[in-house]
Symmetry: C2
């Protein structure tokens, strides 16, 4: 059998150490092609570039890794995946992996995540996909203890197949030792309590920095937050059919068609 | 009882005719405060501004409408909602409405939609929320036939209450007559077949424009696409718990914890 073709992308940009760690691990499994943003795109959610141009070029970042084919792109993570699938790759990849993100994409963070939007874009286009994130925002984060779990999850996704309409959201606890194990979870209920840091510019204009505190609203032991807090890797099967199917009957009880 | 407080936002920018139409209609129902992007933010998905500053200022756009309080913001639609809820409003609004978008946000478009990300952000923060979109991309679109349905949906959402964890995604067919009625639907399966229009800049650099064709993969008569194609307003209850709960047992059958 041919080696699997693996599309690797991320949202922290093509030079990010988390991406480099992911490339290194994926080369043990298959043939790697990298298409990643030329600059950091954290918090871009599922943004795409509609009214602007996209640049892309072949780059060489790290010859020591045996030089997989790498392309940088001026767009968002979702743009990178679209460009990879339609323009750069000769055939449909067997899997798309995104990350390893510098920072958590567990619970509600999935909504804002560029890492996950790249994976979700691949999923929408029928390519099995996984987003990986390490719960450590540092640029110098230690990805090494995470790599055995990453390799195992990708290998099993290739063997078992990820169900259609589903993309895996994998988060890895920050640690200098290997995680205790891997838990399949649901997304914990949580939100961010925003705080805006209001300042005045040298020219007298008010401006804000968005800051906030993560607020966990869910103590369930079947959640990603519980798994991470207890030293496990969390795997949340995530879907892009956003319909709240169970709510349809309730809204049908409204009087929407009475005059 | 006090009049309801209605936060109005959008992704096409604060001067968009669709926003103006929504403001006008909402003033029949309650007290309106507008916090909207100072420039178009279509396709921004759930992007937020993390490593950049946000500007916001009070503006007067349309004195004829009786001048509701209006603020423009340099950020994304999700930023606007965060800023409104934390900094601008004195109390939690009774509802947040986003739109009316110039263009469809039905089926898979919900994923890329700035209009819906504003509504979803409000939903995450516990504010009942609805995104409205008209299936007409023109800046000169005719919003008038849609307004009775918009008013009815917002009024009933205020009376019945939108279930927690749910945000309504409302799409309205393009038409010069009133829609036939309102249907509660699921999101149709669809994707975009991208095409990249590759060009060369005056300085010799290759660049791309992202274009594409909408590909409907779902003939269900319970979908938003069916409703819209048949002259009905579609209402899809949309959730921000992205967990594919039904898939968890299947992934639990993988051998993730065998060494």
């Amino acid at each position: 059998m041919d080696k699997p073709l693996i599309l690797v992308t991320n949202d922290d940009g093509i030079t990010a150490p988390g991406l480099r760690a992911l490339i290194k691990t994926m080369k043990d499994i298959g043939d790697v092609i990298v298409v990643a943003p030329d600059s950091p795109q954290s918090g871009m959610g599922h943004a795409i570039t509609i009214d602007n141009t996209l640049y892309s070029k072949k780059v060489v970042i790290d010859t020591e890794q045996g030089a997989p084919a790498e392309y940088s792109c001026s767009g968002t993570p979702a743009d990178c995946v679209k460009l990879a699938l339609q323009e750069i790759l000769d055939r449909k990849p067997d899997i798309c992996v995104s990350g390893i993100n510098h920072g958590s994409n567990s619970s509600i963070n999935v909504i804002y995540s560029g890492t996950m939007s790249a994976a979700i874009e691949a999923g929408i286009e029928g390519v099995p996909a996984i987003g990986f994130s390490l719960c450590d925002y540092s640029w110098d984060a230690n990805f090494e203890p995470a790599l055995r779990a990453v390799k195992k999850i990708v290998s099993q996704a290739l063997s078992y197949g990820i169900p259609k309409g589903t993309v895996l959201n994998v988060n890895i606890p920050k640690s200098d030792i290997e995680p205790k194990g891997i838990k399949v979870c649901r997304q914990a209920r949580a939100n961010w309590k925003e705080k805006f840091d209001k300042r005045t510019s040298p020219t007298g204009k008010d401006y804000y920095w968005l800051t906030g505190e993560f607020e966990l609203l869910d103590k369930g032991e079947d959640t990603d937050e519980w798994a991470l807090a207890n030293g496990y890797v969390s795997v949340v099967p995530t879907q892009f059919d956003l319909t709240a199917h169970h709510i349809i009957p309730q809204i049908n009880n409204w009087s929407l068609n009475e005059s």
